[in-house]
């Protein structure tokens, strides 16, 4: 057989060798912007998180220092809120994924040959953005309020105990978080599924895989880049969200998340070091969670 001789071709990647001044000019605005508005505040944040209370004892005044105890204090004081943030974020992200995947699949695969329907459905997914995030959350506050028909009907049907609210519960906050971030989950998954080569799905069924198996072994792995982008785009902002969980919106004092605590310590208590320490910890936690997640998902070569 003459196959061996044919199998020796190797793929070569061409790497650009010429350094170009144009590239630096084009990069400059971004680098300067990030330096000014990301790195500077980040260092400022870290420095603030290590400050000590002012010797004068004045509220809101702090001296430069290396007070790592601020972190221990923040954890001991706000541990439940930190934990709650990530639990809420994980539940809301999973819910958003479960709701978004079928929507994205329908738009990207089933409606592929119907451009009008596809455009219409995509518009519907994006439509909530036409209204402010705050207004939408306020609307849900109305719907979940104790006087709303929804609550009253549920109570009348005894699906909800008469003394039980919807507003201010874990459910209401997670619902709000999920709802607000569904488009961020749907769009990246749609983009992945839209490019999915359906001939591979056909090949799967030709190779004895049932529709369910074909989905698990072919469709889902090939749409993982979208699932990963989508979960990151929802998980990260949800972890730091302070609107839905706020007492002014869907939450209550026992639903506050990290964002609410940062807001309270920084703006109301003027405890800048603790607020900064909480922010730094949130960032660090997200970086660690996300990098492990991306590595575990094993899609580096698909991204």
């Amino acid at each position: 057989m003459a196959f061996v001789a044919l199998g020796q071709g190797s793929s070569k990647t061409v790497e650009p060798t010429r350094s170009s001044r144009v590239a630096f000019v084009l990069l400059a605005p971004g680098v300067i912007y990030l330096g000014l508005f990301f790195l500077t505040p980040l260092f400022s944040l870290i420095i603030t998180s290590l400050k000590t209370a002012s010797m004068t004892g004045e509220i809101g005044m702090y001296d430069y220092g290396l007070e790592f105890g601020n972190y221990a204090y923040a954890v001991s004081q706000y541990g439940p809120q930190i934990l709650r943030s990530f639990v809420y974020a994980i539940i809301a992200t999973v819910m958003a994924l479960l709701i978004s995947y079928p929507i994205a699949y329908f738009i990207g695969v089933k409606a592929r040959n119907k451009p009008v329907l596809q455009a219409l459905l995509l518009t519907l997914v994006i439509a909530p953005f036409f209204i402010s995030f705050l207004l939408r959350t306020l609307a849900w506050k109305q719907i979940f309020s104790n006087e709303s028909p929804v609550t009253q009907v549920l109570q009348a049907l005894t699906l909800l105990p008469a003394d039980q609210n919807i507003i201010g519960t874990d459910f209401a906050v997670i619902f709000g978080l999920t709802y607000n971030f569904i488009p961020f989950m749907t769009l990246p998954i749609y983009t992945s599924l839209e490019r999915l080569d359906l001939r591979l799905v056909e090949a799967g069924s030709d190779l004895y895989a049932s529709p369910a198996k074909t989905f698990w072994r072919i469709t889902l792995p090939l749409s993982m880049p979208g699932v990963i982008s989508g979960t990151l785009l929802t998980f990260i902002p949800i972890s730091g969200d302070y609107v839905s969980a706020s007492r002014d919106f869907l939450g209550d004092s026992d639903t506050s998340m990290l964002g609410n605590v940062v807001e309270a310590t920084y703006l109301r208590m003027q405890d800048y070091p603790t607020a900064s320490a909480l922010s730094v910890m949130l960032m660090a936690a997200i970086v660690i969670i996300v990098s492990t997640y991306v590595r575990r998902a094993g899609t580096e070569d698909l991204l």
Binding site: M1, A2, F3, V4, L6, G7, G9, S11, D197, R199, L200, E202, A203, G204, S205, D206, L207, Y208, A209, S210, P211, K213, T214, R217, I218, P221, L222, D301, L302
Partner: protein
Amino acid sequence: MSGEFVARGQDLELVGIRKEFPGFTAIDDLDLKIPAGEFFALLGPSGCGKTTTLRIVAGLEEPTVGKVLIGGKDVTDSKPNERPVNTVFQSYALFPHMTVLENVAFGLRQRKISDPLVKANEALDMVELSHLAARKPQQLSGGQQQRVALARALVNRPALLLLDEPLGALDLKLRRQMQVELKAIQMEVGLTFLHVTHDQEEAMDMADTVAVMNLGKIEQMGAPEALYDRPKTAFVARFLGQSNIFVGEVVEATDSVVAISCNGQRIATPKARAEKHSGKIAVGVRPEKVTFHEGKPDLGSDHNLVGPGEIIDIRFTGVSNQYLIDVPGFGDFTVFAQNVGKSPVVELGAKVWISWKVEHGFGLSDLPSKADNDEA
């Protein structure tokens, strides 16, 4: 679906298949029977319905009416994953997120066959790619991907292997090599192969039986030699090789010969090789069966003679010279002359007579249409 390998290929039978898409009919009342273990080629131009036929057999497309039987069992309503059929797709359709080995083992794993990786490695050995088992398909060349696709289908020992123009993307040299390999593998494993192609040389070279398909129908079916020697329709005469075709009224029909008058010249064809024996019919002859002469030769009644004509084009193709000769009233004649060192020395514009043996002619059942001419 059983978890066992079938011992041999099974036969395929299509009964009254018709497939309609919005606006057109892709397949029109197709009946086909492919015996077990045969290499069968479905040959036709693009859009003739051959790929749709293949997809119906694979279960990827549902026939509007008709039945599909594999090994005598009606599988018309079975899903693709329930049919003992595997396909080598034109695009190969290798799973990009799996290694070559996992691609090949995929079908075995789905059917829960024991030692899938061992069997997959054996299949890769057969196509001499086991050294690339750990690579991803994207890292392979087109020819290598094609062989992985073949191994991925063959490893399942399907009752029927479907090949959807699998050699289409390969260059000519690799293509020839793969044709030889494919045929050898088919003989070795004894499976039934259904090969869809638009390449007439490929079909004739590899297949035991060729069916020529046009406009959703099978025009003619048979062994490659028979099909080439005696095409029955103008489409087949022109799609499978080249032909010189003449149309005329039958002027003489004896027990052995049918003769037409074309532009006042008599052209005879053996009666046994003619589909129709009266009225206006078309007869033809292959270009390599025709010779030409610089002077009017004196030939017996066992030859047809046409002329004089003028040579308007000469093409050198290596093994032969191809002459285009314009004979007034007949149109253009194609003549192939082998380069055996004594080919007729003629120049453009030379006046020649054309002759061929009566026994080499064939009579068609239909008249050539404009579309057939375009196809040729």
